[in-house]
Symmetry: C2
Subunit: 411 residues, 2 copies
């Protein structure tokens, strides 16, 4: 057993912003060596993700790129093709979220790359797959939340469309792409063959929404309107207490009886509207109405104590600030302070998956543009003279750091 | 290259409701043989997920369990341990989302299972990891949306906490767990060792939220309040047109100039508040206000045509109904009609990942309780006499179907 199941796997990472970095940070968390290529200006998320002491390592950038090595290349220069060929030769996986035409202009489309490197797992994350009319359009999270029906789910529930308050399409598709790459790596160990993977975001998120909300329209003819009526009920919300909010679920009949007992509504246990899952589904409006008015008389802490005793699934409804004080997260050590070469002390979020009870390593936060350029080019077999020529000619850019490796500096 | 990279992998699936089935349906989509174990009553989602012609195959259940085989066992019976031992011997992966104490009562905790089957990848999806005070508590999606801070993000943005209108914790953790299993399978091919994986939902979703929203508090000392100010701005919403809504992003300076030109606001291009990413981040309120009032004079169709011409990332904001008519999804064939043994014609959602341009197979929709019991027990080496004895004694349950295999019936 190991917390680094992908150790020995090398990933060449030509991704930026969120969806691609969310994919490759997962691979890095499993111990793959991820070499992230940036332009001389660096990934847009360095600034777009918010402030940092140096202005170059926003919080989102740090977390989505932790544990990766950073090299900086001018991919439009002719000499960069020599470097890319050498790097691709040494890598097991190539990942990009460039648009298909931009990738082809760089000569990095699957067809050409795999012709030279047939054992490589080539993965592109695109907005829209090749067979449809949206192919090649730019894709960002909010555009995709609209297109995949996510924003519209809020419209149905609340009266106006809205966005999930995090970049759900980017993060979800990133995880799914990481899985696709690992499936291909597994297969490659048996067959020796690489793969040409594409993960189209629009299709993937539409499928994500529809598997839950196609519902009664899953049958032909449809036996009812689209959408899960429980989830989309306007009263499916956290429950107000005297001083805050609680998130509570009572799905099974046993949980429902426990909940009704806990709130002193034993009288409703034999109400024919609430007896079984199917009954409550049919009378969901009355059921949610009973629930939503039930907790206003006591504090959050008092109710959580009651529900814990009755084994009703109920949790505090955290704000971002109270989340950082969550006693469970503190006990498991989700957040660790580490040193960063240019940002001082930073808070790292470690991988959460346990293997034999042990979590993966948090890895150091993402480094500055070009931090590892010299090391990576040297390992790829270029001489010091060749590397200095690449830097002088504007083919590559390196951070002017002291000689020590970043991993040695980060405690 | 193959669209079934996990072919030859056999998964014993003791999961129900959403998070576990979301994990194993991904593995089935990659060609693994997934054997789903249900109680005699069947997975709660069969009814909880909504109506179906037979009352036993809600839309959500169908989609989250497509391509799996269904067996039904009374795991509390002594004879079921004999069956489980035989099945575990034949499987590469065991997945469960039972609570830790329930799993241990069945003798299926990692320690005991892996003592007998050291090459097995054993994966439990839990609500809360072992080292913290919430260990063992029941976990459902809405409780976790509260605990992980997701509901609170709405509170910060909109004034009251709310839920994402789909089971985001269940679906996301299911995908992450599938990835963890594939990483372990990859490692096992090299080392021969199985793994004891645990994916704790609360920690995993808190990390998912924090990697995006720890933001300025990623530094020590914090350089600003938690949360991505752009994403959490109340005006970060779909934009109203004369007859509907559009989801639009203009992140880069080039996109911003294109957007301002497209809406006839060239005058704002040189406004110092909007010139660079950092400027717009600082003046996000003014920037969103300009955006949100810009589209009310023309129709959605007219604006989409304009933005396509100017290469501004903009998409229609679909309802569930209009999503089904999306021309791109129709062109790529996301939804396929197939026959189901008891529900007539059903709509299947195929995997969206392409390998060499080809998507994976949709697989047949989930079958009735115990549909494959006899076949699976026979393949595990039990004689017809033994199987009939298991059925007669209440150890196993089989669906009273005609002799033909389901795969042959489904066109």
């Amino acid at each position: 057993m190991t917390t680094a199941p992908l150790s020995g796997i090398r990933v060449l990472d030509l991704t930026s912003v969120v969806v691609g970095p969310a994919c490759t940070v997962r691979l890095a968390g499993y111990g793959a060596e991820v070499i992230k290529i940036e332009s001389f200006e660096g990934d847009q998320m360095r600034a777009l993700g918010g402030p940092s002491p140096s202005g170059q390592h926003s919080g989102s950038y740090l977390h989505l790129n932790r544990g990766k090595r950073a090299i900086s290349l001018n991919l439009k220069s002719a000499a960069a093709r020599t470097i890319m060929a050498r790097l691709l030769e040494r890598c097991d996986v190539f990942v990009s979220n460039l648009r298909p035409d931009a990738l082809a202009r760089l000569g990095l489309d699957a067809e050409r790359v795999r012709a030279a490197h047939p054992g490589l797992v080539h993965c592109t994350i695109t907005g829209f797959g090749p067979a449809g009319p949206y192919r090649g359009r730019p894709a960002y999270d909010s555009a995709l939340q609209g297109a995949s029906g996510i924003a519209g789910l809020f419209g149905r529930r609340d009266g106006a469309p809205a966005y999930v308050p995090f970049l759900v399409c980017d993060h979800v598709v990133g995880e799914i792409a990481a899985g696709a790459i690992m499936a291909a790596l597994h297969e490659r160990q048996r067959s020796g063959n690489g793969a040409a993977l594409e993960v189209p975001m629009h299709e993937t998120m539409a499928a994500f929404v529809l598997q839950e909300h196609l519902g009664p329209a899953s049958f032909h003819p449809a036996i009812g309107p689209l959408g899960d009526r429980r989830v989309l009920n306007p009263d499916n919300r956290p429950l107000a207490t005297a001083d805050g909010w609680i998130s509570l679920t009572a799905n099974t009949d046993a949980q429902t009886r426990a909940f009704l007992t806990a709130i002193g509504r034993e009288d409703a246990i034999d109400d024919p509207r609430f007896r079984t899952t199917a009954d409550r589904f049919r009378h969901v409006d009355a059921w949610f109405a009973l629930r939503n008015d039930a907790l206003k008389g006591r504090s959050t802490a008092a109710w959580l104590e009651v529900f814990a005793r009755f084994d009703v699934p109920a949790m505090p409804c955290h704000t971002l600030d109270s989340l950082l004080d969550d006693p469970h997260l503190a006990a498991v050590g989700l957040i660790e302070e580490v040193a960063h070469p240019t940002e001082g002390r930073v808070r790292g979020i470690r991988p959460t998956i346990l293997n034999g009870g042990v979590p993966g390593d948090a890895g150091c936060g993402a480094g500055p543009v070009g931090w590892d350029t010299r090391d990576v080019l040297r390992e790829a077999g270029f001489s010091t003279g060749e590397i200095e020529a690449f830097l002088a000619s504007g083919t590559a850019k390196a951070h002017a750091r002291a000689g020590a490796a970043r991993t040695a500096e980060v405690g």
